[in-house]
Amino acid sequence: MTIILPLLLLFTAISGTAVVLVRDPSRQVFAIAANGLVLTILFDALQAPDVALSELAVGTAAVPLLFLVALMAVRANASREES
C-alpha cells in the first residue's frame, strides 16, 4: 500500500498534465478518459468505492462520449460550410 498510493498520485499528475499538453482535441478526449481511469483507481485505493464507480461511469464513458460527439458535429458543420 505504501508504494501504490504515491505511484497513483504520480500517475494522476502525469495524466492530468497530459490532458493540458495534448493540443489536438480528439486526442485530448482520450487523455481525459485515461485521467478518469487513473482517478478511479486512486479513489478505489483511498477506499472511496462509491466515488470510484461514479468517476468510472461519468469520467471515462459519459464525458468523453459527449465530447467526441460535440467535436464531430462541430467538424462536420465546419466542413459543410466550407464546401
Binding site: 468505492p49 462509491d50 464507480l53 461514479s54 461511469a57 461519468v58 464513458a61 459519459a62 462520449l65 459527449l66 460527439v69 460535440a70 464531430m72 458535429a73 467538424r75 462536420a76 458543420n77 466542413s79 460550410e81 464546401s83
Partner: protein
C-alpha cells in the same frame, strides 16, 4: 480588456488570494489522517438507527435526503435544458443518415466488436441492476447504478449501430423514467407527511442489517434516483447522438449564426 490589464488583474488577485490559500493548505489535516468527527459519529450511530451497512447511502437518502432531492431536480433541470437547447435547433424529427466528413472512409464494424458488445452489454446492465439494488448494503446506489445502466445502452449503439440503438430505446420512455423517478423521490418526501410524520421521515419498516431489504424508505428513494438517472443519462446520450445525424433539409441560412 488589454493583455497588460489582464496580467495586472491576475497579479492583484494572486497577491490577495495566494496567502489565504497557503494558510488554508497549511491548516489541512495531514494526508491519510483519521476520519473526521462527523464520519465517526455516522459510523457509530447509523447501523443501529437505520439498519444500513452503506453509510454513503444512509447519508444520501436519509440523513441528508433533502440535499439529494435538490440534486435530483438539478439533474432534471440540466437534462431538460440540454434537450430544449438541442431540439430547439434541430427539431423533433429523426433521420438515420449519419453526418459524414467528406473524403473520410467508412470502416464497417468488425465482428469482434459486435460479439464483444453483445457479451459485455447484458453483463454491464446486470451489474448496473446489482449496484442499484444493493444500494444499502454495498458501495454504489441509484446514481452509480443508473449511470452504469445508461452506459450499458451505449454498448447497443457500439455493437448494433445507430438504427438498432434507436429501435431499442424510446425517447418517450426515457422522459417517463426521468420524470417518474424524480416524482417518486418527491413523493417519498411527501408521503410520510400524510401519516403525520416529518418530511422524508423514514417510517417504513427498516428490515434487517446487511440484508438486501434494509433501510425502509431509502430503498424507494434509491429506486427513484436510479430511474431518473438511467432515463436522464440515456436521454442525454440520445440527444447528443442525434446531433451527429444529417438534417433532413439543409438549415436555413442565418440560423447557423444565431
Amino acid at each position: 480588456m488589454s493583455p497588460r490589464f489582464r496580467i495586472a488583474l491576475l497579479a492583484l488577485a494572486g497577491l490577495v488570494l495566494l496567502p489565504a490559500a497557503a494558510r488554508v493548505i497549511a491548516a489541512l489535516p495531514p494526508f491519510g489522517s483519521t476520519i473526521a468527527l462527523y464520519g465517526e459519529r455516522i459510523n457509530a450511530v447509523t447501523p443501529e438507527a437505520r439498519h444500513v451497512a452503506n453509510m454513503v447511502s444512509a447519508i444520501n437518502f436519509d440523513l441528508r435526503g433533502l440535499d439529494t432531492l435538490g440534486e435530483e431536480f438539478m439533474l432534471l433541470a440540466a437534462i431538460t435544458g440540454t434537450v430544449v437547447l438541442l431540439r430547439g435547433r434541430r427539431g423533433e424529427g429523426t433521420t438515420e443518415r449519419a453526418m459524414r466528413l467528406p473524403g473520410r472512409a467508412v470502416i464497417p464494424r468488425s465482428e469482434a466488436v459486435v460479439l464483444g458488445c453483445r457479451i459485455a452489454g447484458p453483463l454491464t446492465c446486470l451489474f448496473g441492476l446489482y449496484v442499484v439494488l444493493h444500494a444499502t448494503v454495498t458501495p454504489g446506489g441509484g446514481f452509480q447504478g443508473g449511470v452504469i445502466l445508461a452506459s450499458g445502452t451505449l454498448l447497443i449503439y457500439l455493437g448494433e449501430g445507430y438504427a438498432g440503438w434507436r429501435d431499442s430505446i424510446r425517447s418517450h420512455w426515457l422522459d417517463a423514467l426521468e420524470g417518474g423517478g424524480a416524482l417518486l423521490f418527491a413523493l417519498c418526501g411527501l408521503a410520510p407527511m400524510l401519516t403525520g410524520a416529518a418530511f422524508m421521515q423514514n417510517i417504513l419498516p427498516l428490515g434487517t442489517f446487511r440484508d438486501l431489504f434494509s433501510g425502509g424508505l431509502m430503498l424507494v428513494e434509491n429506486l427513484g434516483v436510479a430511474l431518473a438517472v438511467t432515463g436522464g443519462f440515456t436521454q442525454l446520450f440520445l440527444e447528443f447522438m442525434e446531433e451527429t445525424r444529417e438534417a433532413e433539409e439543409p438549415d436555413e441560412p442565418g440560423e447557423e449564426s444565431a
